[in-house]
């Protein structure tokens, strides 16, 4: 047939180091050697969309204008719950860890108990790091409410954390890469605690795509596994591609050693651990963020 | 018609002919039993109280009366700009339902459009007449601007005109589209005697040549006597037509003629006797 028989697959990701697979695959597509394209055959075209944040990508999936996307765990899970497990599924893992709690290098905070009466910034109320932070504080025996308690958790947008951290408006920050590295480099922060047992990014697909193009979905999940492996094996090359692509997408320069520094804290993996999902959901429930259904049985659907 | 007293002046012969004509010719405007009141913060103002008036085709009617007695309201109702509370207004036998080109009003304030220059203002009404070429329109506009002595100010903005000049532009704008019925509200109030006198002549010429029907409000009794076939006296609170003076002098009339002065004196006297009661109330 003619060109119009090409299947267009719309793929999303954020211009962020924790979405390295997406960024790198996008870079390769841009170079004409698309990672997914090569594995899906000649009749497939991939369009890449870069989202500013999870909810935008989820809206796009609901609106039917996006098929697959790399996305942080929180928005994907929320979207899944909200659609009663009917519209969005995780088809593969992408990255774990990468989050940390940092304090000033010269901070008197040495032990968890020193956080009493202090202010900790998290990126956003109810997001992954916010929930982790609250769960951790509770585990340390603190009483934390949404607007106060023994330790005050102040949700603060990532870009604004730096200013507040520097000016002493907050004493500590619980956030995710690349901001952990930024805080270390620009605001003399020291990592107090690294949050390693946490899902950061995964690859989700719309239910419709899974239904209509099961074969493609399968190949994509497999390709993602391969890509992740390739990234693990070619760190330097991957980082170079990442930096170039991020520059292309955000018009901002990334320092290579900053990327390298952040990279170390992220664990690129395609495994999706049910335990981690259950833990995240339970923490969220404990912190009072989930009210409706939290059935995770259909969340992961490996094609 | 609500007339308490009618005084006839001028030669008997002319009088009976025009009397005849008026009976034969159908009324161009027929106002019957029209009342109009306004609600304001302070109370109700009865601007017109059961006013009736017939105006024949080609007649020139002048309305005279105290300030605030309802003359402008009367014109607005004839024009269809305002609805009477009761009574009917007919033009050419058909009830007036709204304003239109057939009955053009020249308002008491100049009401010129500030977004157009002088020429644009005069052209405005002309553009609404079909069957006029662009050149024709421009010629007509220029003609009337010359008539009112403002050719030099064709391109001026409205706010650059003096009070009298604004009124003259307004006059040109009203005359240019050549309406069948013209309702004029003190069109010469802001003009000096000399300009007025020229315009008396011009208006009479235009009126005669085009057989216009004109209802003309003025405070100048002499002016009324000079221009009108009939002069109607309004009295205020409530606004009513109280007297009617046919003026049967030959045309064109000279504002300074002695005959005319006699008429004017008559009318003024009537006006005063009417007004006296008013004044005692007002003060």
């Amino acid at each position: 047939g003619r060109g119009e028989e090409k299947t267009v697959i719309r793929f999303g990701h954020f211009p962020n180091i924790t979405h390295a697979q997406g960024v790198i695959a996008h870079a390769l597509t841009r170079q004409g050697k698309g990672w997914f394209e090569e594995r899906l055959g000649p009749n497939v075209e991939i369009q890449w969309f870069t989202y500013n944040a999870g909810p935008s990508a989820m809206e796009a999936i609901f609106a039917g204008s996006l098929d697959l996307t790399y996305v942080s765990q929180g928005p994907a899970r929320n979207a899944h719950f909200k659609s009663n497990g009917e519209e969005i599924h995780v088809i593969s893992g992408a990255a774990n860890a990468g989050a940390a709690l940092v304090v000033k290098a010269d901070s008197p905070i040495k032990a968890p108990s020193d956080f009493r009466g202090k202010k900790i910034a998290t990126p956003q109320l109810g997001n992954t790091q916010d929930i982790s932070c609250r769960a951790w504080l509770k585990a340390q025996g603190f009483n934390v409410t949404q607007t106060g308690g023994d330790v005050i958790v102040v949700p603060t947008n990532n870009p604004d954390q730096l200013a507040l951290f520097q000016s002493g408006g907050v004493n500590a920050v619980w956030t995710v890469e690349p901001w952990v590295t930024r805080l270390e480099r620009d605001a003399k922060a020291r990592v107090f605690l690294e949050d390693k047992d946490i899902i950061t990014t995964w690859l989700v697909s719309s239910a419709k795509f899974l239904r209509d193009h099961r074969e493609f979905a399968k190949k994509i999940a497999a390709a993602n596994v391969e890509l992740t492996k390739w990234i693990q094996e070619h760190e330097a090359e991957a980082q170079k591609l990442l930096i170039a692509e991020l520059k292309e997408e955000t018009r901002a320069a990334f320092a290579p050693n900053a990327v390298a520094q952040a990279w170390k804290r992220i664990k690129f993996t395609t495994e999706v651990s049910p335990n981690l999902i259950a833990k995240a959901v339970q923490d969220g429930k404990d912190a009072g963020f989930y009210k409706g259904s939290t059935d995770t049985s259909k969340l992961v659907e490996t094609p | 018609m609500f007339v308490t007293r009618a005084i006839r002046l001028g030669s008997k012969a002319t009088s009976s002919v025009s009397e005849e004509l008026r009976v034969i010719a159908p009324s161009k405007l027929a106002i019957e039993d029209v009342s109009k009141s306004f609600k304001t913060g302070t109370g109700v103002v009865q601007a017109l109280d059961r006013v009736s008036l017939q105006v024949g085709e080609g007649e020139f009617i002048c309305l005279v009366g105290a300030s605030g007695c309802g003359k402008t309201t009367m014109l607005n109702i004839i024009a269809g700009l305002e609805k009477p509370d009761s009574g009917t207004v007919r033009a050419d036998g058909k009830p007036v339902t709204g304003p239109g080109r057939e009955r053009l009003v020249m308002f008491q304030e100049p009401a010129l459009f500030p977004w157009l220059n002088v020429f644009g203002n005069v052209l405005f009404g002309l553009k609404l007449k079909p069957n006029l070429s662009k050149k024709n329109r421009h010629d007509v506009a220029k003609y009337y601007l010359e008539l009112v002595g403002l050719s030099r100010f064709e391109r001026a903005n409205i706010h650059e005109l003096s009070g009298g000049m604004k009124q003259r532009v307004s006059l040109a704008r009203a005359l240019a589209p050549n309406p069948r019925v013209l309702l004029m509200d003190e069109p010469f109030a802001a003009l000096d005697a000399l300009t007025r006198e020229q315009l008396y002549g011009d208006i009479q010429k235009i009126w005669k040549a085009r057989r216009k029907t004109i209802v003309f409000v003025t405070h100048n009794v002499r002016e009324a006597a000079c221009l009108g076939d009939r002069v109607l006296l309004f009295s205020p609170h409530p606004g009513r037509i109280r007297e009617e003076f046919p003026v049967e002098l030959p045309r064109p009339r000279d504002i300074n003629s002695v005959d005319l002065a006699a008429h004017a004196t008559q009318i003024t006297k009537a006006l005063k006797s009417l007004g006296q009661a008013e004044v005692t109330v007002a003060r």
Binding site: G54, Q124, P159, L164 | -
Partner: protein, 255 residues
Amino acid sequence: MKRFLLAAAFFAVLLLLWEAAFRARIWSPVLLPSPWQVASYLKNAAVDGTLAKATVITMRRLLAGYLIGLVVGLPLGLLTARWKLFRDTIGTMALGLQTLPSVCWVPLALLWFGQTEAAMLFVVVMGTLWSVVIATETGVRNVPPIYRRAALTMGSKRLHMWFKVILPAALPFIVSGMKQGWAFAWRSLMAAEIFVTILTGFGLGQLLHYGRELSAMDQVIAIMLVIVVIGLLADKIFFSPIETFLHRRWGTSQA
């Protein structure tokens, strides 16, 4: 009465269309919940007090920001209209700054005020102020000069002139500008509530934002409705009576 019925019918039809769109399942029910879902969210939120609390908090911020915007903006607008120097400096700044999205003010607000209500107010004021300045200036510059001249010869000067002549003469413009300023204030506040997180209370902006974060469109649409209704109420309670008064005084709006 007939007017009311017609308008009610119009909005009823909109509601029916919405329900029909929902039933037809053209769009994902997550993105387009049914009116009933939205109503039930509203009911629950009303019952558990979330809505009332958020509305009160937001209204407090909105009114404070808006009033500051007016109180600072009106005099600035007058100055700008009056003196070339102000027009060239503050007026120019106002023209440039009014197009800036609210988010631009967030870093500055945090730097200066930290995570406080003041920071939020700052963002709202910056979002409102310049449009009020510009509307006031435009209003003053469109005042027919005859009023000023008449007042001058009666001995009106300076402050008296501004407050007793120029301002009232420019009122129709200024009220129109205030209405737009109100919309600017709302939109800025919504941005501020999202970007400036503070602990002193959850407003409608946050409810809207978290609704979106959680893909809870019933919540998003419900809050949108609340915002719309507040906008209408503000008009009915505040702007509409002023406008009616002006129209009655000026004798306009008989069209």
